[in-house]
Symmetry: C2
Subunit: 343 residues, 2 copies
């Protein structure tokens, strides 16, 4: 993630381990106004940072959990309870479970825990870069691209999934524009995606989630790019609440809808989206904003954090192995070896 | 509008004229937390209250404008500039233009200005009650109804358009549930509709606008009811931004989508929705919330306040004359005599 500190631009990962063996995470709740960090010294503190969304975005959650497992081993704590508490931090993102299991296998195999977690984070970034290369040709000059939530560098240790093709296309000199859904209730679009695009100099505008339909209708959306929290074997996609609505609007307007995700997000063991648990988060995320109460006291709130976009609404998945159709997801399992990537 | 003041329930209109000849409007920007009033002594002050959205909702805007014209006449000011400034306050709601022209004709015909404006407000309420009676049979026991923005008593002097059938069905003892879209950026659903439903004791939950799709998909929406800011001759509907998205989701799930509106909202002179001006409001409505800035400084915002739902997505219009299909809107013009109503 490119950030400006004291007039200089530095490149910082959303999650990493410092020299003192602490897991350092950009506190995404404080952006875009303040760049602060959460430093976790135990697997429990990592789990807490995931649960409270100091760190978020499926691939970043996975990397944080990988470091959490490493911490347990480095501190000679029993691995099983640490793994269990990390996996229980949030229920929807597949990367969380994938990363914990991957780390347990590496440690079981005798790998150095810190080196293994670093390798996990490195692999995610390499895979995101490949997603960028494969996805960039989908963007044409003068296109208007809609994205939802944040599937950028913050969400993926660095570089991004949905935002990766935009970075590559921008570097290639293409002139395009991005509609940024603000993404209620937690405003990851307005706060994080806008901040990343501003940093990259990519032209964009933030809109209320409800406004996207208006722009679809007027022919002002040429392409939809989102990330994913989990992809089922049949190509159904769990992603931030509101993603499904955008897929339906894209269908209504004949606009292609693509999902960008690395291997770690694909859950081959879950047959369809019906098998994906949808996290229900605290109603106060909707009822309050900062210190302000929005709803009347006494009005109930429902706050599902994700929805499932059926495979039939997805034109393709942009993966590190190339763009595949939903019907090709199951076949991806044969390539399901996570680790260093050069493709 | 039923409000509790000092432990007693009072019934207050969203807009009325007090004994001293001031136009008194509930300041809808302060709800649900504080019940305060804006008191306008000139047509210009009424126009300002409309522009700043102290009063909003197409029928309430119309009634406020009617009182604004009455003020001009009562204070012996020239009518033409007052009418012009009122009509310029906001561009989309048809009731605004309709009410001003109706008042000019009444005053031209020698009617007392204050009595004419009161008659306008009375007529709106009577028509809303008829909308309630006609619409209530659409609601079945155990239904889940989705509504967007606020088309309740606050929006219509009293009683409501989209909320009127819900009031009637509730009075009839039906047990149903309402999903309340929070309605970014100004949160009229979270702030106003929730407050009205809470006051009526109608079970409901506030949701992020983006969450509605999830409930459609799970079969938890049986009916969509919204109001309208303007209906074109062909049945295209301008309403609060996000309405179109809900209509598309309703189509995808096979859920009926109804629009409730009185005669004053129908614009027979505009052939299709393409002829309706869509207001673009200040980007700060999206970028800020209260004292808090949400987006990074430097990120542009686009903030269209309305969208147009094509007639083909509307199952029917609930009017004071009964439920009609979009193809029957043009024929409604023959009944286009506004005034006291008993139907």
């Amino acid at each position: 993630v490119k950030v400006r500190i004291g007039g200089r631009t530095r490149d910082i990962r959303a999650v990493s381990m410092d020299a003192r063996g602490r897991v350092v995470m950009i506190d995404q709740r404080a952006l875009p106004h303040r760049l602060t960090f959460v430093r976790a010294e135990t697997p429990g503190e990592v789990a807490r940072a995931i649960k409270d969304m100091a760190i978020r975005g499926a691939p970043s959650i996975g990397a944080a959990a990988a470091y959490g497992v490493a911490l347990a081993k480095m501190k000679r704590r029993p691995l099983a309870p640490a793994a269990k508490s990390l996996k229980a931090a949030r229920p929807t993102a597949h990367d969380l479970f994938f990363a914990v299991d991957w780390m347990l296998a590496r440690i079981e195999g005798g790998d150095d825990p810190r080196a293994a977690a670093d390798a996990y984070a490195d692999a995610i970034i390499e895979r995101c870069r490949a997603i960028g290369r494969h996805g960039a040709p989908l963007i044409d000059d003068a296109d208007k691209v809609l994205t939802h939530c944040n599937a950028g560098a913050l969400a993926t240790v660095d570089y991004g999934t949905a935002l990766a093709p935009l970075r590559v296309a921008h570097d290639e000199g293409l002139d395009f524009f991005v509609w940024v859904d603000e993404t209620r209730p937690r405003l990851q679009g307005a706060r994080l995606t806008a901040w990343e695009l501003l940093g990259e100099g990519i032209p964009h505008a933030v809109i209320a989630d409800s406004a996207a339909g208006h722009f679809f209708q007027r022919g002002e959306v040429d392409l939809v790019l989102t990330g994913a929290d989990r992809v089922a074997r049949n190509g159904d996609v769990a992603n931030k609440i509101g993603t499904y609505s955008k897929a339906v609007l894209a269908k209504e307007s004949g606009v292609p809808f693509y999902v960008a995700a690395p291997l770690s997000t694909f859950d081959f063991a879950t047959k369809t989206g019906a098998g994906i648990e949808i996290e229900e988060r605290d109603g106060d995320e909707v009822a309050r904003l900062g210190s302000e109460r929005l709803t009347p006291r006494g009005s109930p709130v429902s706050n599902p954090a994700f929805d499932v976009t059926p495979a039939g609404l997805v034109r393709g998945f942009i993966t590190e192995y190339g763009i595949i159709r939903p019907s090709q997801v199951a076949a991806l399992e044969r390539r399901a070896r996570f680790g260093p990537f050069s493709g």
